[in-house]
Amino acid sequence: MQLSSVELKLLRRFRKIYTIIAFLVSLAMAAVLLLTVFNLPAFGKAGNPAENEVIGRYIGKGLEETGAVNIVAAVILDYRAFDTLGETLVLFSALVAVIMLLKDEPGVFTRRYRERSQFEPEKDQIFRSVAALLIPCLLVFSIYIIVNGHLSAGGGFAGGAILGATFILYNIAYGIEKARRFLNEKSFLRFITAALLFYCIAKGYSFFTGGNHLPSVIPLGLPGSIFSGGLILPLNITVGIVVACVVYGAFCLFNRGGL
């Protein structure tokens, strides 16, 4: 970093002013927000404006309208499903952008920092034995969370994140070659595309029938059992796959520039 002395002096002076401005801006920001918060409805009190007929219907009729016991799952995957479609697309676009930025092209560009690090966790005995113990538990746990998303706390996003973390753990503990046996680049892209396509088509169907006031043919099932909630269970599973793939894929891309 070679700056000429004049530039350096200017930069330092600029920094000093900048710090003062930063301080003032943050103070002003905090003051405005604090004043606003003092004027907001009281914390934790029943009867605040946010508690209105919308909530009444979500809780009062959520079970019979969507078949989901977990009302949050009913809200994100059925009542306000368009938001969640957008949310999945945010994940998708971030994944695409990360692939675009970090994927190595063979022969053109190699990861420099990868060569610099000499650490190989695969050789660590303690880590490997703990990983061997944890991976099956984590797999079961993540699948439980995904599949039970409409019955208890959790759902596709939470479970998918745990599933992705399990894959990452496997990858670190046993090396990329073994991980490639169940998830290589091609199958990764296919999984994501298939899951997203299913998601879009299923939601598109329900938007279309809902918007045109047509009846939906998907049964809601017996409330409280695993196979209830109409589309919520399959949607949770697809969301879980997408999230797991995105988490794992992002890890691999950051780690070595490819799956």
Binding site: S117, Q118, F119, I126, F127, L134
Partner: protein
């Protein structure tokens, strides 16, 4: 009543340990010092805190879950700290300047 007091003591001790750990992370300068504080105190603090909650709850399904969380933390936290320490040990350039104790063992690269 006794249960409440016991739980309060456990939770208070857990919070104290966590506070000390946080202070330590800010106070120390090198990775190895910091991981030393963070690893021990996170494991101990979380354990005390969660067992306090378990005592408060009594015998129930939630207590079982809390115990599972403690077991999970005991598995993962030391291993994670161990891995971080190893990376630091193998890749840090100025390790000898940081810790005055001479490092023995030939695992370190370039020695």
């Amino acid at each position: 009543m006794i249960r409440m007091i016991l739980a309060a003591i456990l939770i208070g001790a857990g919070l104290f340990v966590l506070a000390v750990a946080t202070l330590g992370i800010f106070r120390f300068h090198y990775v190895l010092n910091r991981i030393h504080v963070a690893a021990k105190c996170d494991t101990l603090g979380a354990m005390l805190f969660l067992s306090g909650l378990a005592v408060l709850e009594g015998f129930s399904f939630s207590t079982l879950k809390l115990i599972l969380i403690i077991v999970f933390l005991w598995f993962t936290n030391p291993v994670a700290s161990h891995l971080v320490t190893r990376v630091e040990f193998q890749t840090a350039a100025e390790l000898e300047d940081e810790c005055k104790v001479i490092c023995s063992g030939g695992e370190r690269e370039g020695q």
